[in-house]
């Protein structure tokens, strides 16, 4: 790829774009942002504004790290920061929601710091080590955030479930 082999670049993109796109989508719930982030990640690789160094971790965690920075920047722009939506906000269209959408919304309503950990470890099947590299934090932090994120999800889903039963 570094020598200008377009097919090599294309192969790399095809192999890696899916997880990056899904990560961005699960973090933002927005297909347009997910598409933009995916493109920007590989563009950064191409323009060498993001330089991968194998000694610092796997390529997957490097790409997740680049994607994460871009996602967080987007979330800041759209003012969707730690002020996550309350379960009450989600009530309105609860009746037409399927289980998957409930979970998706519950994940999206997590604060970004827990959301990214849940998305990487539970939705993307990333190892704790890779997640720690991507999130630039110790593995212990990944574990604790994951526990906290899951417990927040449990309460949200409990709430959704209760509302559904009541409707």
């Amino acid at each position: 790829m570094l020598t200008g082999d377009e097919e090599a670049f294309s192969t790399l993109y095809r192999r890696r774009q899916g997880p990056i796109y899904r990560f961005a989508l699960q973090m933002t719930g927005n297909v347009v942002i997910a598409e933009d982030v995916t493109q920007e990640v590989f563009m950064a690789l191409l323009q060498k504004t993001a330089k991968y160094e194998p000694s610092r971790g796997s390529l997957a965690s490097f790409l997740y790290g680049v994607a994460r920075n871009m996602v967080l920047r987007r979330l800041e722009k759209t003012a969707e920061t730690e002020d996550y939506r309350s379960p009450e906000d989600i009530l309105d269209d609860l009746t037409r929601r399927e289980t998957i959408e409930n979970v998706r919304r519950a994940v999206l309503s997590l604060p970004a710091v827990y959301r990214e950990t849940v998305v990487l470890c539970d939705l993307q099947d990333t190892s704790y080590e890779e997640a720690a590299q991507a999130l630039e934090c110790p593995i212990g932090t990944v574990r604790s955030r994951l526990n906290r994120g899951r417990s927040m999800l449990a309460s949200k889903l409990r709430f959704f479930s209760a509302v559904r039963s009541a409707v």
Partner: protein, 168 residues
């Protein structure tokens, strides 16, 4: 809802999203950016390589001379350029201000692809290269060097050539 339920719910979502991918348009845009980046960088090397190759092909395609001497009268259809000996190195070129006289372009490809963009490269070739496009060169000057402009297309193909003579 306990942790196991949460994990199961997350698994369901992960399963539902497993096939999701970026739209094909993203790859198209990236490939286009890739091509733009690397073609621009590779272009001078590619052109130089092509020119060298074209020169080599011209060299090896020199046909055996039919006669020993070229008649003094030039063919009317093709522009004729006599090969002259290179100017002595000690002469101050600026003072003499030699004038460039060029032949027409001679195609190097029989059916070239459409031409969009290219570059004109000045190269030095043995005079025998002129014979490959039908220009007369006397036997005793076949080994001399002549200047030529090679038109190389954006795709790197040497498309045409013209020869240059300096007159004072």
């Amino acid at each position: 809802m306990n942790e196991e339920d949460v994990l199961r719910a997350l698994e369901t979502l992960a399963e539902a999203d497993r096939e999701l991918e970026a739209p094909p348009a993203v790859e198209v845009r990236l490939r286009s950016a890739f091509r733009k980046k690397y073609q621009r960088r590779a272009w001078p090397y590619f052109a130089a390589l092509t020119t060298a190759l074209a020169s080599f092909l011209l060299l090896i395609r020199v046909p055996p001379p039919p006669t020993l001497e070229i008649p003094p009268v030039a063919a009317p259809a093709a522009p004729v350029l006599a090969v002259t000996a290179p100017a002595p190195k000690v002469v101050h070129r600026q003072a003499l201000q030699p004038k460039e006289v060029m032949t027409d372009f001679y195609p190097l490809m029989e059916a070239p692809p459409p031409f969009e963009r290219g570059e004109l490269l000045r190269v030095s070739l043995p005079a025998s290269a002129m014979r490959t496009v039908g220009l007369p060169v006397s036997e005793d000057r076949l080994g001399e060097t002549v200047q030529a402009d090679v038109l190389v297309g954006e795709e790197g193909l040497a498309r045409a050539i013209r020869f240059v003579k300096y007159e004072r």
